[in-house]
């Protein structure tokens, strides 16, 4: 019981003060009928060294990106993360603190969130960013609902290139409010803008949603999409990976009204898909309709600069059923990781990460599409991720390369039947030329 404090004598002394004969005597309000008469059926307590041994074995079974060469993407990426991040978030004052409701005792957290909001606003080119939502998927869902509330409309039009997992989450969130989702096809990889124009309705459409680069890796024409959305009085929601925005244009500069995205690439570990970092930024006109926490600068009693949670009337703890969202706990510590990541990489670092990833991805695409029977599935330009068409089952190829400690890519069958012969390959700045060449050679053999 190394996590418990009270010893027998201490319990006794406390009970005496309370005036209770036993701890049992404090539990009398729990109906006898509902009392658990047996111990919980759980494994017995494990000593530290035994549990460590067992957990190491359990972890060792997994093909992680440290012991395997990882070309997996689809919304989570094996980007480089400077070691200072973990050292800083392990400061107990950061990771064991609660939501900064008492600003005087929380300036550390509040300042880092304010820095985070500034960084995200700058990267996305938006006026304001919130303190984080759960992940890219729920951020998109919240954006869709916000658009519906703001516009008073009931339909969301999504490009087919939007990550199907995000579309799935959005559909879940839209059930209650009864917001309808419609999809615009993307035959060439990028969204069919003419089809979008037709689908976007002057009365019903609350927002047009695109992702760039999209799930298939293709870059979208944000400005054109903005025109279509705004022409119909709808908002443009853009999903983007902030780690790409050192090189790619900020969606805000191209007309986005809301920018969401998965911020995992900004120094947040893969961790089998969670916790992630839900990025959410918007135009300032929309700030009072935004979901999630906001930190603002103000002054204290002595006129010194200080930071507080602000515009809380949007939130559930004050507005309850009328809140802009039900979110309470967010992913503050992941936002801190991203803050430290952006601080460490900085202005030039994010450019380097983007350029390196793009260069390596294009080198990989060249090498791979040179393999007989293998080709790029879509003509549209891509950034760090691309879709390959294979002559044999992608699952089999992936299985074969796994034996060579290569995570070759994500088979798209599960996401889109029509792409059953496709493999989604992502290449970050971490992949070396040697690793890419190995992938090409191994894949060449696997499809031969």
């Amino acid at each position: 019981m190394r996590y418990l404090s009270n010893t027998g004598p201490e319990q006794r002394a406390m009970l005496d003060v309370i005036g209770a004969a036993s701890i049992e005597a404090l539990l009398t309000r729990v109906p006898a009928k509902a009392r658990l008469a047996r111990p919980l059926a759980l494994p017995a307590a494990a000593a530290e060294m035994d549990l460590v041994r067992e957990m190491r074995a359990l972890a060792a079974v997994n093909a992680d990106a440290e012991s395997y060469t990882c070309f997996l993407g689809g919304g989570a990426y094996d980007h480089f993360s400077p070691t200072v991040i973990d050292h800083m978030i392990l400061r107990g004052e950061f990771f064991t603190a609660y939501t900064p409701y008492q600003p005087e005792a929380s300036q550390g957290t509040l300042r880092t969130i304010y820095e985070y909001q500034t960084m995200i606003a700058e990267l996305t080119g938006m006026d304001v960013a919130n303190a984080s939502l759960y992940d890219g998927g729920s951020s998109l869902a919240e954006a869709a609902l916000m658009a519906a509330n703001v516009t008073g409309r009931t339909e969301i039009v999504l490009a087919a290139g939007v990550n199907p997992l995000y579309r799935h989450v959005t559909a879940t969130y839209c059930q209650g409010p009864g917001v309808k989702l419609r999809t615009v096809p993307a035959p060439g990889g990028a969204v069919d803008l003419d089809a979008a124009k037709k689908l976007v309705d002057l009365k019903k459409t609350a927002a047009l949603v695109i992702q760039t680069p999209n799930f298939y890796g293709c870059l979208e024409d944000v400005a054109a999409a903005a025109e279509i959305a705004h022409a119909a009085g709808a908002l443009l929601i853009v999903a983007a990976d902030p780690v790409n925005l050192g090189v790619l244009e900020a969606p805000g500069r191209l007309g986005a009204d809301i920018v969401v995205g998965e911020g995992q690439g900004l120094g947040v570990p893969l961790s089998y898909g969670g916790p992630n970092l839900g990025v959410f930024a918007a135009k300032k006109e929309l700030v009072r309709r935004m979901p999630g926490r906001l930190v603002g600068a103000t002054v204290d009693l002595d006129g010194d600069r200080g930071f507080v949670l602000t515009l809380q009337t949007r939130e559930q703890h004050i507005r309850r059923a009328k809140a802009t969202s039900n979110i309470c706990t967010n992913v503050a510590l992941c936002a801190l990781m991203a803050t430290i990541y952006v601080a460490t990489l900085g202005k030039q670092g994010l450019v380097d990460v983007g350029e390196l990833s793009a260069a390596k991805a294009h080198y990989a695409a060249e090498r791979l599409s040179a393999i007989p029977g293998v080709s790029l599935r879509f003509p549209a330009p891509f950034f760090k991720e691309f879709t390959l068409k294979l002559p044999v089952s992608p699952d089999r190829v992936v299985g074969k390369l796994l034996k060579q400690k290569i995570l070759a890519g994500v088979p798209l069958k599960r996401f889109d039947k029509a792409l059953g012969d496709c493999l989604l390959v992502a290449v970050t700045e971490k992949r070396t030329r040697a690793e890419i060449d190995q992938l090409a050679d191994a894949l060449g053999t696997a499809v031969a």
């Binding site: 996590y3 406390m14 003060v17 309370i18 701890i23 509902a34 658990l36 919980l40 059926a41 494994p43 494990a46 549990l51 957990m55 972890a59 060792a60 992680d64 997996l72 993407g73 689809g74 919304g75 800083m88 400061r91 990771f95 609660y98 005087e104 005792a105 304010y114 820095e115 992940d135 609902l145 799935h168 989450v169 209650g176 790619l248 998965e262 961790s271 089998y272 969670g274 916790p275 009072r288 930190v295 009693l301 010194d304 602000t310 009337t313 559930q316 703890h317 309850r320 309470c328 706990t329 967010n330 503050a332 510590l333 601080a343 460490t344 202005k347 030039q348 670092g349 995570l407 700045e429």
Partner: protein
């Protein structure tokens, strides 16, 4: 003086920036430079204005900022409803094993067996703890667990062709309860609580009808009391075909003592970041698994982790599922921590957790009952709620008391929550705190009660030892300054107060902090 030395540090990372300074080193490009791999039209026109600092700047800056925080590691954190217990270091290590930390969510199932097995076992363990039949680990936090739970109830009724439009929630509930329920498309009906924070059975009976989809209540309730008539309540609901949802945020009070399932609940969520020691991280991430009885299992979020023979897999074929809540499978890193914790404690350990949590809360309530009004008579469970009514008479509010505690070396209790208690001070010590610490805290509280009578000015002055003191919340809301504008001091032009199609977003400043609940 409080602002001298390190405490007086007032920099933002941007203010340390120096053009050309570098905090990273990346390898040189080892592949040919294929010109314009990214067409100009997609490229950023001008570089993002991000900090340019050295690695040392980063380390010193964030080390200093961290020192402006109170954390559980450094301060007693009696924040009611938040279960601020010790966050075991072993959890952190285990979550950082490369096999877990560096595992990609889309890695082949065959290559993720260790992770899937851990999730499957954790689901089974949580189901046992709550007396539920199945658990989904996908919700990212309690609120999302609530959403998932209510959506499952909704899908359940729909599957039985029942149109029910209302969900009953006590007025003492946490804000996320009504918020999640409304998000799930239900009308929220408030049920009155009596003075002890218990559900008014008659009021409940009055509301119960076939238009009610569910009752959502917190057990123990937000006053820290166990609903004595809970079995009656769940029974009444079921008699009307009403599903009962238990907000499990207070599960720390009943581990191994009683189980939501045995109390008649159909659904309940867990806050792994409360009961199961995953760190709060300054606001998150958390994890809010949701448990259900068998009749709701078909509606669980997809995918579900299943075990076939000795292999584990993600089951996507769930036709009745409410869908997905986040892109991937859940906050896995938090799941590893919770799993590590449960394996460390074992069944006896978990029960001892609740017993000591209850003992500690009652000890505090007893020691403070002379100097403060107790919101509801004891015995309480894992937390107790006091009212600063008496101190208010001397002009000392719950917030003043909270601020004064900061000077005395303690974080503050939750204030102004639950809303049904005037000047509420909600105190949850948790089982990991020692009697010595509780005594120091009680002595401080009693000292403040005296000060309220004798030297209220001292309490109003507080805090004086913190880096900043009593921030101007109204200015913050009236002139939102939400990002650094180059230190021009000039805040961004205030938002246009009435955005198009405003559906209730108020332009007025928020109610003053004194009445903003903190939990």
């Amino acid at each position: 003086m409080a602002k001298q030395g390190a405490a007086s540090y007032d920099k933002l990372i941007f203010e340390l920036s120096s053009p050309g300074r570098r905090g990273y080193s990346l390898p040189a490009r080892d592949v040919p430079a294929t010109a314009d791999v990214v067409p100009a039209k997609y490229r950023r026109k001008d570089a993002a204005a991000l900090p340019e600092v050295s690695e040392f700047d980063v380390v010193r800056h964030y080390s200093r900022l961290s020192r402006m925080n109170y954390g559980v590691d450094t301060h007693f954190y009696p924040l009611g409803s938040c279960t601020m217990k010790y966050n075991p270091r072993l959890n952190e290590d285990m979550a950082r094993l490369a096999g877990f930390l560096r595992l990609h969510p889309l890695a082949p199932e065959a290559a993720s067996q260790g992770a899937l097995r851990l999730m499957h076992e954790l689901g089974v363990m949580l189901a046992e703890v709550a007396g539920m039949d199945a658990v989904s680990l996908q919700p990212a936090a309690g609120a999302q667990g609530e959403l998932a739970g209510v959506l499952m109830i909704r899908a359940y009724h729909a599957s039985r062709r029942e149109k029910r439009t209302k969900v009953l929630i006590p007025d003492s509930a946490h804000g996320t309860n009504p918020a999640s329920t409304a998000l799930a498309g239900y009308d929220v009906i408030e049920v009155k609580s009596n003075a002890d924070g218990e559900v008014e059975i008659d009021d409940l009976a009055r509301h119960l009808d076939t238009d009610v989809a569910a009752l959502m209540i917190t057990v123990p309730n937000t006053l820290g009391n166990f609903e004595p008539r809970i079995l009656e309540i769940t029974g009444m609901c079921h008699a009307q075909g009403v599903q009962v949802y238990m907000d499990g945020a207070n599960l720390n009070a009943i581990l191994g003592i009683t189980r939501p399932g045995d109390l008649g609940f159909d659904v309940c969520h867990f806050n792994l970041h409360k009961t199961f020691t995953t760190p709060h991280g300054g606001g998150g991430p958390g994890s809010g698994p949701v448990g259900v009885k068998a009749h709701l299992e078909p509606f669980l979020p997809t995918p579900v982790v299943v075990k076939k023979d000795d292999a584990y897999a993600l089951d996507w074929k769930r036709p009745k599922s409410i869908g997905k809540l986040q892109a991937f499978w859940g906050n896995f890193g938090m799941l590893v921590r919770a799993y590590t914790y449960i394996r460390t404690m074992g069944p006896d350990g978990l029960r001892a957790v609740s017993e000591n949590a209850v003992l500690n809360a009652n000890y505090i309530m007893k020691r403070l009952s002379k100097d403060y009004d107790v919101a509801a008579p004891g015995p309480c469970m894992h937390e107790c709620v006091l009212s600063a009514r008496r101190q208010k008479k001397h002009g000392v509010t719950a917030m003043d008391i909270a601020k004064r505690l900061l000077d005395l070396g303690f974080y503050a209790p939750s204030t102004y929550f639950p809303m049904i208690v005037e000047e509420a001070l909600m105190i949850e010590p948790t089982e990991t705190e020692s009697k010595q610490t509780l005594d120091q805290f009680c002595d401080a509280m009693i000292r403040i009660a005296r000060e309220a009578e004798t030297t209220p000015g001292l309490v109003h002055e507080a805090p004086v030892t913190t880096p900043v003191r009593r921030l101007d919340q109204t200015k913050a809301a009236r002139e939102p300054d939400l990002k650094w504008m180059g230190g021009s001091g000039r805040p961004p032009s205030p938002p246009t107060s009435a955005p198009i199609g405003d559906m209730g977003g108020s332009g007025r400043p928020p109610s003053p902090p004194t009445s903003a609940p903190s939990a």
